[in-house]
């Protein structure tokens, strides 16, 4: 069986998502994905992790800092 092991698949996920696998490696990756529900779930979990990280709310600038910076911008002339 030339199939990728799941333990190898999980180490290729980031390179796959970045389109950085060479064509042969990418084919093995996709072939494995088609057959393995566990790795399909793992890849989905990584995607969900990335997406959730992107939803983190930004921290706010302290109001006094914001006021100081706006003042500095105003004084720029």
């Amino acid at each position: 069986m030339t199939d990728l092991h799941c333990a190898e698949f999980v180490e290729m996920v980031t390179a796959f998502l970045d389109g950085a696998l060479d064509p042969a490696a990418e084919r093995r990756f996709v072939d494995h994905l088609a057959l393995c529900d566990g790795c399909d779930a793992y890849l989905h979990q990584i995607r969900a992790t990335v997406q959730t990280l992107g939803d983190l709310p930004p921290g706010d600038l302290p109001p006094e800092t914001r006021a100081t910076l706006l003042e500095a911008f105003r004084k720029l002339g």
């Binding site: 333990a7 992790t49 959730t52 939803d55």
Partner: protein
């Protein structure tokens, strides 16, 4: 109001459009603070880095040559200021660390030699349904805690890539690391955060 495209953004800042500057402060400062916090040791110090960065931006905008995006330019100023400060604070930034090597998923999740399918899942990871993410505030707390546990370089890369949405190329330039190194750090960081989410969902009960 949304941040305008770069050419217009620069023109407005040079025309001293205060509303545009205020918008930038509100849109970018949160991400900048998170990024600064990966280099310096306290929240107060990170806030100072952000303030110093904005002052440098104000002073530099008329000379900015637009060879990179505005945001990349701002982030570069920030990383330079933050790195200088982290040296002053005697924080060590090791070029490699032990946690940059080895498998990212616990080996006992996979079958060993002697089992029917060595190297394959012993038990499949759970399919995460969208409703799992309903408790957004709690999940955000978990994520913030997971990020804080990461080694500094992994935290910087995942913050830039996944929280801030920078491209791989931008991250390599900002942190002065190779594409391969960037990917390794990102991969390890993502795998770690995924594991933390998995633990959280288990604790929370499915």
């Amino acid at each position: 109001m949304v941040v305008p495209p770069d050419a217009e953004l620069v023109a407005r800042l040079r025309a001293r459009d205060e509303a545009t500057f205020a918008l930038l402060l509100d849109e970018w400062s949160g991400g900048m603070t998170r990024l600064a916090r990966t280099f310096v040791s306290t929240d107060a110090s990170a806030a100072e880095v952000v303030q110093e960065t904005w002052l440098a931006v104000i002073q530099g905008i008329d000379r900015f040559e637009q060879r990179s995006s505005v945001k990349t330019w701002v982030y570069r100023i920030l990383t330079n200021i933050a790195k200088r400060r982290s040296v002053r604070e005697h924080r060590i930034t090791p070029m490699t660390s032990l946690t940059d090597a080895g498998p990212t998923v616990a080996p006992d999740r996979f079958q060993q030699q002697g089992e029917p399918y060595p190297g394959h899942w012993r038990e499949f990871p759970e399919a995460w349904q969208p409703e799992k993410f309903a408790m957004a505030a709690e999940i955000h707390t978990e994520l913030a805690a997971a990020l804080a546990e990461l080694p500094e370089r992994q935290r910087a890369v995942i913050t830039l890539r996944d929280v801030e949405g920078c491209t791989a190329t931008e991250v390599c330039e900002l942190l002065e690391i190779s594409a391969a190194n960037q990917r390794v750090l990102l991969h390890r960081a993502r795998a770690f955060v995924r594991g933390k989410l998995e633990e959280y969902f288990r604790r929370a009960g499915s």
